[in-house]
Symmetry: C2
Subunit: 390 residues, 2 copies
């Protein structure tokens, strides 16, 4: 019932079974309205907004985000998306010839491309450690991951929740172990804040990026980069602007470097307090828990239907509001189109290391019924076409 | 009268004499509404918009912009702002030790910082040729500028209309001469399109950037980078994403590199056709001409009041809808605040090479009355305070 009330708060159009919240999120009405109000306020007096009130709202928004993530306001800065944050760090990282970044083979393709680009430029290596499925346990994952460690490893880069598999990785243990070994740590939390609690003080990663426009429900183009005080000096701006060698430096070079980015509409950054209020008012921990129950309780059913091994055992350690199932589809794009065109289901069919994965997201506007729609659509396709092998 | 009708089309709030259109533009209602409609359409089905309709709108918008600028649609790409475009080119430029970029000492500070940053990294030099005022003529400017040329010069970087002086520079002649000398040319047109006609086929610069969110009237964060076919291969993405080493390359690596930038709200890029329609429907050449007449006819009056030499003679060659006057103010920020707080005038007071400049912009919503308000406010300040020396 709560779910039905909440559904009316989203702008998603009727008639689509929307199981791809993970891709770009979806913004509830009150947050979206706040967004457009800021844009209107900007247009009513651009100079006073951009140099005045807007800056005050931005500071308040950073403070609210920092409280939500449990870090200091001046250690976090808004960026457009996690790719932007990864680009800042990879561009700036003081690689020496032969240095290695240890990561998994499950990372987001845009991030892989970024690290490869800058590692190639500097004679360093981006080492994508292969992870074998099904995962038996957290310990199994950790053991597999650190097999990629060498004497040249300088940094660990790893997803908090990976995009294509939807699995929540044991980043706490990995950061702690990496720290013991003297490595820097960078966690890509594109799918984390809003889906699972993120406590940066406990995690102690050197670098953390997260999207607000996914599970934190804000409009597109609002994400953040967190960097520990000790490592902030390492990060050059991705876009050099007035904040570099500033004529009027603020108290924080980190903010001067990464917040000052030329004229843009930064209203999306200002909506974070409204999003946090929305989550508080709607008892979001309970909403997320309810979504997770639906996500988890359907996982085996789709494995059975598709005759697939699960990606992991100990599901409770790995699965929250995203669940990916291996699907033997030779033409993933055609399957994706059919699911949308005929069955009106929005769900991604993704490729990862030779596997094809069907990933459903469960958000407040979803219900068991949505997964039933998916189930019977897939059953229909299995029975009537040769698009899926079982 | 036309001006009065048009004023009601803008969202600027009543009670402010807004003479700083040049800073961030100001967006008319029909264009702003289109902007927010696109954002709503995005939220109603993010996946279908971002991967589908939105891409189609984006292509149409690029085509409309290309027609407006007289270039090919695949030679121009939307970026957030001109600083972003300058960063792409400066980051990518294959400098050799000792190479020089020739520019003026009148360029935008964010661009100066960008070139200095990348030149420093590569042992190259960014040479800011000093321009002496008052300018006698176009020829005078060209002669002064090319005094900075050396055998090491590889590129010319120059504003079409400079931000702080508001002067329209003879970039056609400079590009033609630079080309003859075998130099690359990059024109910063942040203030050009919409204020003066921009014809990229005639100009033949290798690189050109312009803001749409200033004189083309679109919402903030919509600008473009144009690169000739021959030089596109030189430009790496500023933000490495899926379009770099794309798994599904399009017909244009230039677009793959610079258009694919991770999740963001790109609605501002989609408003260019609406802005061009708006200008067409309102006979913009006549509006701009009328604004220019007001701008020009007041220039001497402010010089006289402030006991200042003009920045140029042959005003018709240099001045369009922006006019800067030297003002002897020891505390420019205090003067700026007084003008806003007491007189409700929004106008910038800028520093350039030891000069203080007061710059007024005249747009469709302005009239002679606005400059009279400014005139009498300055007169009052001169008579009653010691903030301005005359």
């Amino acid at each position: 019932m709560q779910s039905n009330n909440l559904k009316s708060q989203f702008l998603l159009r009727e008639g689509i079974t929307y199981l791809n919240f993970g891709a770009y999120g979806a913004c509830p009405k009150p947050i979206f309205e706040r967004y457009q109000q800021y844009q209107l306020e900007l247009e009513q007096e651009p100079v006073q907004f951009i140099a005045g009130n807007g800056m005050r709202y931005l500071k308040e928004s950073r403070e609210a985000l920092a409280a939500y993530l449990n870090c200091l306001p001046n250690d976090v800065v808004y960026v457009t998306n996690p790719s932007y944050a990864v680009n800042i760090v990879a561009k700036s990282f003081p690689f020496k010839e032969g240095d290695e970044v240890l990561t998994t083979n499950l990372e987001y393709g845009a991030c892989d491309r970024t690290w490869n680009y800058y590692c190639d430029k500097k004679g360093a290596k981006y080492l994508r450690q292969k992870i074998q499925f099904p995962l038996q346990s957290k310990e199994d994952f950790i053991e597999q991951f650190f097999k990629g460690l060498t004497s040249k490893t300088k940094m660990v880069f790893i997803s908090h929740i990976t995009s294509s598999t939807g699995l929540r990785l044991p980043v706490e243990e990995i950061c702690a172990m990496a720290k013991q070994k003297g490595l820097l740590t960078f966690v890509d939390g594109a799918h984390a804040p809003g889906q699972i609690p993120v406590d940066l003080r406990i995690l102690q990663a050197d670098f953390y990026t997260g999207a607000c426009h996914k599970w934190m429900l804000t409009p597109k183009g609002s994400s953040f980069l967190y960097v520990t005080k000790e490592r902030q000096g390492m990060c050059d701006p991705l876009l050099i602007s007035w904040g570099y060698n500033s004529a009027t430096p603020s108290h924080s070079q980190f903010l001067d470097y990464h917040q000052t980015q030329g004229t843009r509409d930064f209203s999306a950054f200002l909506t974070i307090p409204a999003a946090i209020d929305f989550m508080n008012e709607n008892n979001w921990p309970a909403v997320a828990e309810n979504c997770r129950t639906i996500t988890l309780s359907n996982a085996d059913r789709f494995c059975k239907l598709l005759n697939a091994e699960p990606l992991c055992y100990n599901k409770e350690d790995f699965i929250f509001q995203l669940c990916s199932t291996v699907i033997k589809a030779k033409q993933p794009e055609q399957l994706h189109r059919l699911l949308f065109d005929k069955y009106k289901i929005e769900i991604p069919v993704m490729m990862l290391e030779g596997m094809t994965l069907l990933r459903y997201s469960i958000q407040a506007f979803n219900s068991q019924e949505d997964l039933d729609v998916l189930y019977y659509a897939l059953k229909d396709i299995v029975e009537k076409t040769s698009l899926i092998e079982v």
